[in-house]
């Protein structure tokens, strides 16, 4: 019989995505065997992440203050706004250091099958944000799947009449990735979107 506190930890860990019962057990034993400071640091980090991290009141990215560092940074170009599905997508684009504008995180995409409509996304907030007329171009960077495409179309129809330039990120092959490993549908799309050199 394992002691209850251990069982509780295993049960909590097993609720994490991608973590099965066995892995949860291994992690719990690891925590148990590590020096006690580790457990204290870990639990503190876990608590702080929920107590201190919240959504930026303007772009809905993660932040510790009311506004995130990107929204506060005066060097960012406020005429270009990149709309993404989630935080991970924002982080991926930011990592490229190519985009100098600001972001808006929708926290999802339109998905009737999952019961997600416009009201479940940060769309009203996007429209409110655009009211001051500083943004000139909206770049829609949702995923190229059915829901991401539909959301992009929905946004286009909503924003174009407001006199905004709306663009969609291009689809194609990942750079550095081998052509031979690309899936046929991606390759087919890339081929039909070819350009003359």
């Amino acid at each position: 019989m394992t002691p209850d506190p251990l069982n509780r930890l295993v049960a909590e860990l097993a609720k994490l995505p991608g973590i099965g019962e066995k892995t949860a057990q291994r992690l719990a034993f690891h925590i148990l065997r590590a020096p006690p400071e580790y457990a204290r640091d870990l639990s503190k980090a876990v608590l702080e992440v929920v107590e201190k991290v919240r959504l930026c009141s303007r772009c809905f990215a993660l932040t510790e203050a009311d506004l995130c560092p990107l929204c506060l940074d005066p060097r960012r170009d406020e005429s270009a706004l990149c709309v993404v599905e989630g935080i991970a997508d924002q982080m991926a684009i930011e990592k490229t250091r190519e985009f100098k504008g600001r972001y808006h995180v929708l926290h999802g995409v339109l998905s009737p099958l999952d019961g997600v409509g416009p009201d479940q996304l940060r769309l009203k907030e996007l429209l409110t944000r655009l009211e001051d007329g500083r943004v000139e171009e909206v770049i829609v960077a949702t995923n190229p799947d059915i829901e991401g495409e539909a959301t992009a179309l929905y946004l286009t129809r909503l924003l174009k009449p407001m006199g905004l330039k709306v663009s969609r990120i291009a689809q194609g092959l990942p750079m550095g990735g081998d052509l031979e490993f690309a899936d046929p549908a991606t390759l087919a799309r890339a081929l039909s979107g070819r350009r003359e050199l």
């Binding site: 339109l110 009737p112 059915i146 495409e149 539909a150 179309l153 899936d183 046929p184």
Partner: protein, 372 residues
Amino acid sequence: MRLLALALEDFRNLAAVDLCPGPRVTIAVGSNGQGKTNLLEAVYFLATLKPLRAGRLAELVRFGADRARVSGRFELKGAERQISVEVSQGAKAAFVDGKRAATLEDYFGGVSVVAFTPDDLATVKGGPDDRRRLVDRAVFNRFPAFLEESRAYARALKNRNRLLRDRTGGAVQEAFDATLCRAAARVWTRRLALLAELAPRTAKAFEAIGRTAAPAELNYRAAHLSLDLARASEAERAAALAEALAARLPRDVERGFTSVGPHADDLEVRLGSRLARAYASQGQQRALVLAWKVAEIENLRAALGYLPLLLLDDVSSELDPERNAYLMAYLADSGAQVFLSTTDASLVKRAAGPDTRWLTVQAGVVSSLAGP
């Protein structure tokens, strides 16, 4: 492309099979209910990751076992690859040379298989869904991207049907309609491209086996669409669907179901001016399917530069002697690697040669046979 070795564990009623197929023809003989179709299905599953007979994946696991496994060594474009598929708890996992294959597509690029079963023979007479399945199976083989593209269409359709049922309407409905139209246009492009290749080949093959003066004609019939899809561009196809969706919206909302699009279409099969479904004899209908299959094989040979793997499940007993003789001669001459199953070895003898591998299947046990 060759299957050099095949091993099964707990696949349907086959507990353990380990065999080397013949370089060309492999024939499984056995009476009904012994596991012949299961053996062919294992090969089909290995090559396509789809069960041959409709149903849930869990049905592939032998009663009482918790995992089914099929693995095979293939010779593909001069290299040997070990491919395996496992099913447990209703889910499948594929491995190429021991490494988990991230996408099924990695896989489809290399292996193609044409299956021919008694169910196929009823396609001409059957419903539009049977004929769409016949077409789509051929499209998967011909255009590997279609797997992803047809899934995208299915998902777009499900989303739209949900919106119809929820009576959402408005801009959200319009956005999903537009997405559906694009995905649908892609499906049409693929199906029509395949038919453009296959229709003349089918007509030619039917000429040889049909014993019918009237020529075989195949036409794609897009439900509720006035546009001639075959002559239109992909963008025009999408636009035509958008128009039809708009026109049929009240009806579709009423029914909670999208009534127009590739999922509602049919393949029209004619003998001259007459619809084969209504007027052709059973023998002619079966000959039409046989001609389609031969056309598909020949078309893949032309397009891929190699022959697909052929699986023929007990079809000889369903064909009349003359057409069966044609099929057996075709198989013998084609040079393709073929798996045949039969209850009566004499029906398939004509396809066999000195290098044919004869097997018996009895109560889930597969063993070698010196010859019939």
